[in-house]
Symmetry: D2
Subunit: 281 residues, 4 copies
């Protein structure tokens, strides 16, 4: 499916500042980037950083003097995804898991799976099938956590959300990840652009590793699973902020867009009874 | 310097369990492993996992039936380290930092640098020299946190330690890391064997990235800096537990030893006024 | 019902220390104290403090020099309690609540009802009947929190327990209180001696204010509700520690006993379908 | 000194709601209320609640149907306070403390003195004189915590503030109280109107019990100590919110004023070297 994505950000820089932006989409066999531009106004040199293990692409830029600076990222991307029938979504045995996946079992800043271990096991460990286990915990989050803009901040973690029961997409994702890891299911944070997400914004959901594939789950249920354009995956939001700011700069505005350039987009959500998951690489 | 290290661990396994052990020492140009053995009793197949980015070596072992199992790791290692004079311990500019180092600026499970940002900056940001900054924060931890066995547990994080002011080596390390990152100094967890540490145990300290080198700091001051044999580095303790246990097993005993096989070991600690740091790779 | 209660405590005092003990049973129309003694060995003067609003009785004692000190409290008490049929367990309207009760709606050290507000309302607010609401939340705690000695400490609060799902009687009580307050039901901590509690210990449960009565609830389900001898009520455990120690003293032992001096004790627990609550004053 | 205080509050009530307001000033020998009015628009019956132990006066009001409601409190008050020379600010011995004061040594919702015990003792216990101890901790808060509107919320506690180092007057007060209690100095929350506080608002500070008097301390240093008109004291902010809302209502505006009706007001602050404290009853 062909999408056009845009992100425009403005900053008031008041001291020498290095920015690391995380707005560029992944390039892989599921996401062909047809066109792409990154514009800085005023024109300032920037650098695309080599990919992390997960392939995330970062842009780094140094602003030496106080000024207002605007960046605008735009890409046209052709995305595809794999449907994984339920019989292939088998449990991963830690004894055979690739070493590169193991770290996604560890607790991280926003996903304290160690502290949620008893709760996760009490609630979900009786479910045999690993895919259904994740579906169930995703549904539990969806039913128990209220999507409430402004109810959380950059310090909010899964440990908070499980009790406070309110948050935004990143909080839903962190809780899903923490619960998966507590159940010995590798899980990671997924950030991207989302078609038909209202109001338009960056979106966050999560991937669980089942049957050798990273299967996508979105506890918010707010965006069609087939309308995502992936920016990156990571342990949690700590590793993929939209903008890391080293220095002194204040965000003055942000607009995000994701348009479908084809007709016939048919929103896809997981349905009760349909045991297929989807996987972006 | 030549050291012999030993770690013996016993487990009562009550259900099928996969262990991932993190007792093997690093092999690199600063640590030549002269002899090494990993013995499991009863004999159970195990697998050495390929190194992580940081070179850490893990051993994975699957115990299929309930039993008592004992593992014993032993190595003879020749270690060396680099002395870094103060003039080379320059501040890292985020604008030029290698991408692989950037993640060591992010908050992690036990090192919530985001939550300590104001405190770190209030206390230490007036110190110009980056090495002195880390020396100063290390000293501050040493003066303010009491080493108290049993005062903390596996859930304790830097955010707790800054107020509770008691902990063990891992807590001292986590707080050091969190403060460094809050000051935009990349920092990582260092775990190893330690000569002249009493009582003998695995040791934890931390490395700060200055002038392109990982300089070693130990806020506990309990072990000579030149008596360490490195097991690994990582974001924090979440990534390098002595043993990760997936299944059901209880630790029945643990002994750790680190002997110097040469004479003439002269304990080295950072001294006030001496502006040299040391770096294990 | 006639009970004999005993509490013996030993302390190693290493510096001048003031103790405030909270072992004496309440004296009121539901608890007649037939015999009572408080023995200190060696003999040291102590003082019974005037009752708090809730009638709690404290004993204060100053130990001026280092020594081993033993205290032994013993009482024979005749207890009674009121059965409150369900039709009298009506919801309290804050608009008419006596002012002295209002504080039991406020969050306290261990019962952060403000932080549990959304969870409590999501889970239990659809239940009309206030008594059933408390019965339901008590059952929810019982099903979801595991009684696990040593899993918590004196810093553990309801906010922790709701996620950690393990604790001892005081943690069960704190969570019950926090949930009630979050639902605008006044609730307070109840501490006492408990017949047929194994292993014998001080017990904690909680009281909810319904229909003008403090109705007793015990989320642990570990002790018959009619076998309690009340020591006191308070906002939470912060106000009724067994011993407050100002100085330097270490507890060397503690034994607690509660014997029934009559035959024919018939253990009483709330039963599904039986809508009667009981109230100690 | 004669002051006029005003507080006007507006609420959008969307469901039957009971309000408990905490805007009325204390009446005692240090505060003579010369004139006082509490106006509700539209006119709704309200009730003044009997005083708590601390003498706080609450107004309770039930709004039965959705509406916009406005309340306006106004009083003219003659205040006085006692100067306590340093020699009378003696340490309290817990062994002789009146029982009614003991509760102010216990941790509370926002003042977790138990968790700050080691820090408080490490930092301040070497100071002999109890008054200087409190002066010192007040200064420490003032130097280390930044007054930053909007940086905290109603869940923020002393445990957070000690690390986050930012907050508003209530956070400064909570930290002061927690540190005092950790040092075995009874301490309580003080809320009132404050002359020459900019921007005008309700103010919070704290009282420490020394030499049998509640001595006033204000870690913010933002308002003259002799320009306060006391609303009440309590364990912490949990017991004296400006408005407790049971039902569904949203605050639409709030204005607070405190004017001096006499000339010659001379702002009084504690000065280094001046060892006098002041006490409102």
């Amino acid at each position: 499916m062909k999408f056009e994505v845009n992100a425009s950000l403005g900053y008031k820089v008041t001291a020498p500042t290095t920015f690391i932006f995380n707005t560029s989409v992944l390039r892989n066999r599921h996401q062909q980037v047809i066109e792409e531009s990154f514009i800085v106004d005023p024109a300032i040199q920037y650098q695309e950083l080599q990919r992390s293990n997960e392939g995330n692409r970062f842009i780094r830029m140094q602003v030496m003097v106080p000024m207002d600076v605007f960046i605008s990222y735009r890409a046209i991307v052709n995305t595809s995804w794999t449907v994984i029938p339920q019989q292939y979504q088998t449990a991963e045995n830690v004894a055979y898991l690739e070493p590169s996946i193991l770290k996604y079992l560890n607790p991280s800043r926003y996903c304290q799976s160690d502290k949620l271990a008893r709760l996760a096991n009490n609630k979900f460990n009786n479910i045999e099938n690993p895919y259904l286990k994740v579906i169930e915990l995703t549904g539990w989050i969806n039913r128990n956590v209220e999507y409430l803009s402004g109810s959380t901040n950059s310090e909010t973690s899964a440990y908070d959300t499980v009790t406070q029961q309110a948050g935004v997409c990143r909080d839903f994702a962190h809780l899903g990840i923490a619960l998966c890891r507590a159940l010995t299911i590798p899980a990671r944070y997924f950030t991207g652009y989302a078609f038909q997400l209202y109001p338009a914004d960056f979106h966050a959901c999560f991937e669980a590793y089942l049957g050798g594939k990273w299967i996508l789950f979105d506890a918010t249920g707010l965006a069609p699973l087939n309308g995502l354009v992936k920016i990156g995956s990571s342990r949690d939001a700590a590793d993929v902020p939209v903008a890391s700011i080293f220095g002194n700069a204040e965000n003055s505005f942000m607009t995000v867009e994701c348009k479908c350039l084809e007709t016939g987009f048919s929103p896809y959500f997981y349905q009760t009874g349909n045991l297929e998951g989807i996987s972006y690489l």
